[in-house]
């Protein structure tokens, strides 16, 4: 009996902690249009995805900090990132970034997600683009 009680307590404590960790670590995905419409949270980390706009990549010579614009061709959100980029980051390519919005509405990325394959487009990005196309045709 004692053993069962001990186990039950242990399991419920860990289940509680697990759910809490889960809640804190959920990362939502938003398209640039959703961010522009103010649907994205300003107080927590989320992911944004779209295409890297042509000619939008700017970097000060020799600096690790990079600015570019991510777009779904409906809205455009400026993104800033400091660090080494994944291999397949390029203009006119899909990108997913994890980070948060600053007070000026630009997205400060902590991580730019790497893709494994140049033909592969993140489904989230594909969907964001499709959604944006739909909105335009209305």
């Amino acid at each position: 009996m004692f053993l069962i009680g001990l186990v039950a307590t242990g399991v419920s404590i860990s289940a509680f902690l697990a759910l809490q960790a889960f809640e804190e670590n959920l990362l939502f995905f938003f398209s640039p249009a959703q961010v522009a419409a103010g649907e994205a949270p300003t107080d927590r980390t989320f992911r944004i995805g779209g295409m890297v706009l042509e000619d939008s990549i700017q970097r000060e010579v020799g600096s690790l900090t990079l600015n570019f614009i991510v777009t779904d061709y409906t809205a455009a959100i400026p993104v800033s990132y400091t660090g080494v980029l994944p291999d397949l980051f390029a203009e006119n390519q899909g990108v997913v970034a994890r980070g948060r919005l600053d007070s000026q509405g630009s997205f400060i990325a902590e991580e730019i997600l790497a893709k494994h394959d140049e033909n592969y487009m993140s489904p989230e990005v594909a969907e964001a683009l499709a959604l944006s196309k739909e909105l335009k045709s209305l």
């Binding site: 939502f28 010579v61 020799g62 690790l64 080494v84 291999d87």
Partner: protein
């Protein structure tokens, strides 16, 4: 013509799989020896035809047969030969064929190795394996035929994804699959036991070596994958809690629980239905894993829907195998001959029970975090992903107490404690772990957080406790109580591996120095205790790629330690850039340099990392697997037939 032979061989294999699935099971039901006898030839024949199909596919790759769609998409004339072979299992269709080949290899091994078992039982096991094989072969032939032709044939292939052009990736899938698929064997044993309605302790003894073998491959396969991700994905992480990784890790967790509960079932005849349930769970999780990875469902539930045939088939197969076996379990588990036996709180049984509970909790938490985003997406409730901090938390919470208990559990006896009290025996290893663990981090690294200390002490505790008995034996050779059996050696070694892993994972996670920096030729800068000099930058011509290679000198205390040459490759066919990190490998630490991208004015972005004890992570996994190997080789798994025939009396069971 030749590819058609491959397809024809697969169809014949399917026919034999049907025979293997149906006739032996009927034979066992009706007690007809002639039908039972068909099981082994059918399994052998199936293996031969699957092997033939596999060889044909290899042949198409080696001869650049660009009339085969799968070869066109995954190979190229300029691809080096070893990678042409690896390309066979680099994508969906071919890796399914590899899956089937490995399943039929395991089946053949069971057919040969089960000669010591009662014929009726062996027939049931082979029949169940036949059912799994039928499902997979149908899946391949109906939805994912690797031999599909295109007309007109292509002139050149699209090449193998550069990421996969790596020795680690040549080995990783076959070994991982050997583990994944190997869990089909304990599954088949479990279902056969349910069909028989009887579960003897012999059953557990028959099942154990198969389970441990599969677990061994799975351990090495996961470690290889982690190692590959570390040096090839370019950025120095060793575990990402990526759904694909979780897919292989969940069967490992369940398999580990299974190994331990099998020990109880073998020794004490209890935990029977729990063991059966774990065997079913472990294999279902590996099926789930295969499909999560292979169906495209992970990329998106929508990609999944884009090929409804595959998606539907997958669900059907999972539903049939898992659902069918669980239904059987629901009806039959109660009828298993239950020998109830109690045990005390401080006994090996109760420690193994806790091991099982904690492992199952960890499995469930990982499963939840992996599947929840898929469900939410499927229901159209938004796109989310679950971050590594969740997995770290839910994994470490049950694993820390587990590791602490392992150190005690190893030294408990069945039924109850006996001899020297546990506490006195374990005082020594506990003391060493505490003293070394609390002092060493401060001496070597200067500082330590509470979690780091807990991790290090736990790792050392498991190591010290695993070494206790072997060292005792080594020190007092003559008065040693009893020599260790191979099974015991295996257990101590595997747990030693766990300790080494914990130590490595904790130290690496806590003390990695990671810097992203910008440098021009001739720059000299400090990272940790090392000084790096950017010496040279040049172009390199590879077999099927061109690369920019940087040259970095690494100095410490005014002594040149090594020269590192990381590359940025562009593969000619797919023209995608690839980072090849340069790593100075050491027991104490890895020094990792990766070339980022040009930043203008001759500057390059660089990632430099110092990762202390990272080798211990994979070393720990290898030690675990080696422990498994020793346990499998324990002679007591070999004398079964004679024992059953009563020629040999059962030895008193004091081992493990």
């Amino acid at each position: 013509m030749i590819p058609e032979i491959g397809q024809f061989a697969l169809i014949l294999a399917l026919g034999l799989a049907f025979i293997q699935a149906i006739i032996p099971l009927l034979g066992a039901l009706w007690r007809r020896g002639d039908l039972i006898a068909i099981a082994r030839p059918a399994a052998t024949g199936q293996f031969i035809f699957v092997m033939a199909a596999f060889i044909v596919l290899c042949h198409s790759f080696l001869n650049n047969d660009f009339s085969v769609l799968y070869v066109v998409t995954n190979s190229n004339t300029a691809l080096p030969t070893p990678y042409k072979i690896a390309a066979v299992w680099s994508a969906h269709e071919g890796s399914l064929l590899l899956w089937i080949l490995i399943l039929s290899t395991w089946t053949l091994a069971v057919a040969v190795g089960s000669r010591r078992l009662p014929d009726e039982f062996a027939a049931r096991v082979l029949g169940v394996l036949g059912i799994v094989s039928v499902g997979m072969l149908l899946f391949t032939l109906l939805t994912s035929n690797p031999f599909e032709r295109i007309f007109p044939s292509a002139i050149e292939g699209n090449d193998l994804n550069p990421l996969l052009q790596d020795p680690g990736l040549v080995m990783h899938p076959p070994i991982l699959y050997a583990g994944y698929v190997g869990l089909a064997v304990p599954f088949a044993f479990a279902v056969a036991a349910l069909l028989t309605g009887k579960l003897s302790q012999d059953w557990a003894r028959w099942t154990r070596p198969w389970t441990v073998s599969a677990w061994m491959f799975l351990t090495v396969g996961i470690a290889l994958g982690s190692w590959w991700a570390y040096y090839e994905l370019g950025w120095g992480g060793w575990w990402f809690w990526d759904p694909v990784e979780n897919a292989s890790f969940m069967p490992w967790l369940a398999g580990t629980a299974l190994i331990h509960s099998l020990a109880v079932t073998e020794r004490r005849g209890i935990f029977k239905s729990w063991t059966i349930l774990l065997a079913i769970t472990a294999f279902s999780l590996s099926l789930l894993g295969t499909f999560l990875v292979r169906s495209g469902i992970l990329v998106s539930v929508h990609a999944f829907a884009s090929d409804p045939a595959r998606g539907l088939f997958i669900l059907l197969l999972l539903g049939t195998i898992t659902g069918g076996s669980l239904t059987l379990y629901a009806f039959r588990a109660r009828h298993l001959t239950v020998v109830e036996g109690g045990f005390r709180l401080v006994s090996r049984e109760s420690f193994l029970l806790m091991n099982n509970i904690l492992l199952v909790v960890a499995t469930a938490a990982v499963l939840f975090g992996t599947l929840y985003p898929l469900f939410l997406d499927a229901l159209g409730m938004g796109k989310i992903s679950v971050g590594p901090p969740y997995f770290n938390a839910v994994f470490v919470i049950p694993m820390l107490p587990l590791a602490a208990l392992v150190g005690v559990g190893m030294h408990t006896s069945w039924l109850r404690m006996s001899g020297e009290p546990l506490s006195r025996r374990l005082l020594f290893p506990a003391g060493i772990a505490l003293i070394v663990g609390l002092i060493f981090p401060f001496i070597v690294f200067g500082q330590a957080g509470a979690l780091t200390l807990i991790g290090i002490v736990t790792g050392l505790w498991v190591i010290a406790s695993s070494l206790l008995e072997p060292i005792k034996r080594a020190l007092r050779k003559d008065s040693a109580p009893m020599p260790l059996t191979r099974g015991q050696w295996g257990m101590y070694l595997a747990h030693l591996g766990v300790g080494v892993f914990i130590l490595g994972a904790t130290v690496t996670s806590s003390y990695t120095i990671e810097t992203d920096s910008s440098a021009v030729l001739g720059d000299r800068w400090q990272v940790g205790e090392y000084e790096l000099v950017f010496r040279d930058l040049r172009r390199i011509e590879g077999v099927n790629y061109e690369a920019t290679e940087g040259e970095f000198e690494v100095w410490r205390d005014n002594q040149l330690m090594t020269i590192l040459r990381p590359q940025k490759r562009i593969y000619r066919v797919q023209t995608s850039p690839m980072t090849e990190a340069a790593i100075d490998v050491g027991w104490g630490r890895d020094l990792f340099v990766a070339l980022g991208e040009p930043l203008g004015a001759g500057a390059w972005s660089l990632r430099v990392q110092i990762k202390p004890l990272i080798r211990f992570i994979w070393l720990g996994a290898l030690i675990m697997a080696f422990g498994g190997l020793l346990a499998v080789m324990d002679p007591r798994y070999r004398v079964q037939r004679t024992r059953e025939q009563g020629n040999l009396r059962k030895k008193p069971t004091k081992t493990i």
